[in-house]
């Protein structure tokens, strides 16, 4: 395996990790506030559709991005309404959102575009163009560092840079601001937060709303940056891999980035080499595909430290009994 191949695999890793990372951070906010969110997949899917649809109609990818975020926020609001205001079961609400998005996107797409549940192909300003970092062309010939800078770091869409910038931002918000402290507290012990005179419901809605924004960006990235349009079920389980990454990272932002990069890397390897030959031992591609889930189970089983979810996660808060 030569140097250029490694660069290409890492490049692919970054592209594949980005939607996982955005969805994983979305889950992080929501679950840290005590609201389990298995509707990440559905929110990404609906955002993928609306971003592609609006970008196709208006010709502007930025309007598409806004529409994607808005649609994802609507579903997030629905999840909040069901699980915070009406104290319903958060898992069931999440499942419902996944099904709702899977059915509704195809239905609306068929009604609007008559292309069989997909959007027209996006062209020109309807897609996020890759961004060339400054001096990427000039530095390309520098040995080792040149290719790393010009191939690996440069040439991604703006959403990729946003996703990686969101990691320190998330860490800062959660661990260095008053809002973050309260958010974490509401996921551990909502009664204490309530006693301090802070609105539990308000905080949880805020967290679910942030999750909606991040899922919206993740979906828009899939449909308007990686692809040029929406295709039925195009998230293909990435919301669930993001959830697995969240558990793998034990609900911590920097670790979430590590987990998403690892899972993205595994996918990139699986896509590049069908069967990996390790000196006589052949690892079939299916093993690589299943590895994220296997690793998560290993973590959950407590082999590599314990993964303890936020203590109040999954329970609706009742003020007085």
């Amino acid at each position: 395996m030569d140097f250029l191949t490694i660069i290409q695999i890492l490049d692919s890793t970054i592209r594949l990790s980005t939607p996982l990372l955005l969805a994983c951070l979305a889950g992080l906010f929501s679950e840290r506030s005590g609201v389990f969110d298995i509707g990440l997949e559905g929110k990404m899917l609906i955002a993928a559709f609306f971003s592609a649809a609006i970008a196709a109609v208006t010709g502007s990818v930025w309007l598409g991005l806004l529409a994607g975020i808005a649609s994802s926020m609507v579903l997030a609001g629905l999840h909040g309404l069901a699980s915070i205001t009406f104290r319903g079961n958060q898992l069931i609400s999440g499942v419902a959102i996944n099904f709702l998005a899977a059915g509704m996107t195809v239905l609306i797409a068929q009604d609007w575009f008559r292309q069989g549940g997909r959007t027209p192909s996006l062209i020109g300003a309807g897609r996020f163009a890759p961004i060339e970092l400054p001096f990427a062309g000039a530095l390309a010939d520098v040995p080792v560092l040149g290719p790393i800078y010009s191939e690996l770091l440069s040439g991604h869409s703006i959403l990729v840079y946003f996703a990686f910038a969101a990691v320190p931002a998330t860490w800062w918000i959660l661990f260095r601001t008053r809002f973050g402290l309260r958010l974490r507290a509401v996921g551990e012990n909502p009664a204490a937060v309530d006693t301090a005179g802070v609105s539990v419901v308000g905080l949880r809605y805020a967290a679910v709303g942030i999750a909606g924004i991040l899922c919206g960006i993740a979906g828009a990235y899939l449909a308007t940056a990686l692809q040029a349009g929406f295709v039925k079920d195009m998230t293909a389980g990435r919301g669930f891999i993001a959830l697995a990454a969240l558990i793998f990272a034990k609900w911590r932002p920097w670790h979430a980035m590590g987990a998403c990069l690892l899972f993205g890397f595994l996918q990139a390897i699986a896509l590049r080499f069908q069967n990996i030959d390790l000196g006589g031992l052949i690892i079939p591609v299916q093993v690589m595909d299943a590895l994220p889930y296997i690793l998560t189970v290993v973590i959950l089983a407590g082999f590599v430290g314990k993964a303890i979810p936020p203590r109040a996660g999954g329970e609706p808060y009742v003020k007085e009994r």
Partner: protein, 332 residues
């Protein structure tokens, strides 16, 4: 009581006769979905053509999960639909249990040829022959001497495609390098354009400059990325040349629409048995239209047409992957 009984039987008889008079054909789409721009859409086009020509109507369902297969078959058979047309190899198992229960209903299944039931019409295609032709075109269009193949779900049928493709390419250029990848091992592999894109990029970085996608909805991502990166791609099942005019070399046509159209036209009297549609019956072929006219030179066309004739005449033997579950020209 007796009155009740006779009333009931009269009602039942009426329901039965109503069913017989209205014996509409039914069409069951596979998980890829009715508008996959490929396999299922071809079936829909065939049915649509029949409906427009005859003024008839047909029932249809898009399967959403594995569990619905048997249920859909029974519902249509009990509702009196005849023939019941099903798409895809995955219907083989449910059909083998359901078909004997409804001896008066004719079932048609596309892409299956190994079942045994008297009321079953099994239509398969010689995909390896059509793929052989597009493989030849790919090898002739390639400048790097490396071509790619991207399959959907890793099943024998898709390997069958890839195997014919590799043989055709090797017939043109003995030393050609063929990079083959499968998208996945679950039905989700039919609808994952993002993975299709990444596979395409990976193959391009390995030098491939013509890439054949036999992957349903995933193929949309393959064709898109190939067009973005400036290499050629080859579509599958339906004619996909129009998706990116001038950048799709050709499409391997599988005339599922003809098979469905013929079955609907024959109606309840559709002939049962096993049928394989190959080059000779125009069941498979390659697409040539105004979108790719500039990509296919006269010389390429005449060579492929010659090979086509040779296959029909039996002078070229394209080895089927099914014969011994392996491919002489390609290692998966």
């Amino acid at each position: 009581m007796t009155l009740m009984k006779s009333l009931m039987s009269a009602a039942a008889a009426m329901a039965l006769s109503a069913g017989a008079a209205l014996a509409e054909p039914a069409l069951i789409f596979d998980l890829g979905g009715k508008f996959d721009k490929s396999f299922n859409e071809a079936a829909f086009n065939g049915a649509q053509r029949w409906a427009e020509e005859t003024g008839g109507s047909f029932r249809e369902i898009e399967l959403q999960s594995e569990a619905q297969r048997e249920q859909a078959l029974r519902r249509f058979a009990e509702a009196g639909a005849n023939p019941v047309i099903t798409m895809g190899f995955a219907m083989a198992d449910p059909l083998s249990t359901v078909a004997p229960d409804y001896p008066d209903t004719k079932f048609v299944v596309i892409d299956v040829n190994w079942l045994d039931a008297p009321n079953l019409r099994q239509v398969s295609f010689a995909e390896h022959e059509g793929s052989y032709l597009v493989g030849m075109l790919a090898a002739m269009a390639s400048e790097t001497g490396t071509i790619g193949f991207i399959g959907g779900m890793d099943v024998p049928l898709i390997r069958h495609f890839g195997c014919g493709y590799a043989q055709g390419a090797k017939a043109v250029n003995e030393d050609i390098e063929i990079v083959a990848n499968m998208t996945g091992t679950t039905p989700a592999a039919w609808n994952d354009p993002v993975k299709g894109s990444e596979l395409t990029k990976a193959q391009i970085s390995q030098g491939a400059d013509v890439i054949y996608a036999a992957a349903g909805g995933t193929g949309v991502g393959v064709l898109q990325t190939a067009a973005d990166e400036g290499v050629l791609s080859i579509g599958v099942d339906s004619n996909q040349n129009h998706l990116h005019p001038g950048q799709v070399l050709t499409s391997m046509l599988k005339r599922v629409d003809v098979a469905v159209y013929e079955a609907m036209k024959a109606g309840e009297d559709v002939e049962t048995g096993k049928f394989e549609l190959g080059l000779a019956d125009q069941g498979v072929g390659y697409a040539l239209d105004e979108n790719n006219a500039e990509l296919i030179s006269e010389e390429m066309k005449s060579r492929v047409d010659q090979a086509r004739q040779d296959i029909i005449d039996g002078k070229i033997d394209v080895v089927s992957y099914y014969e011994n579950d392996s491919c002489p020209a390609l290692n998966f």
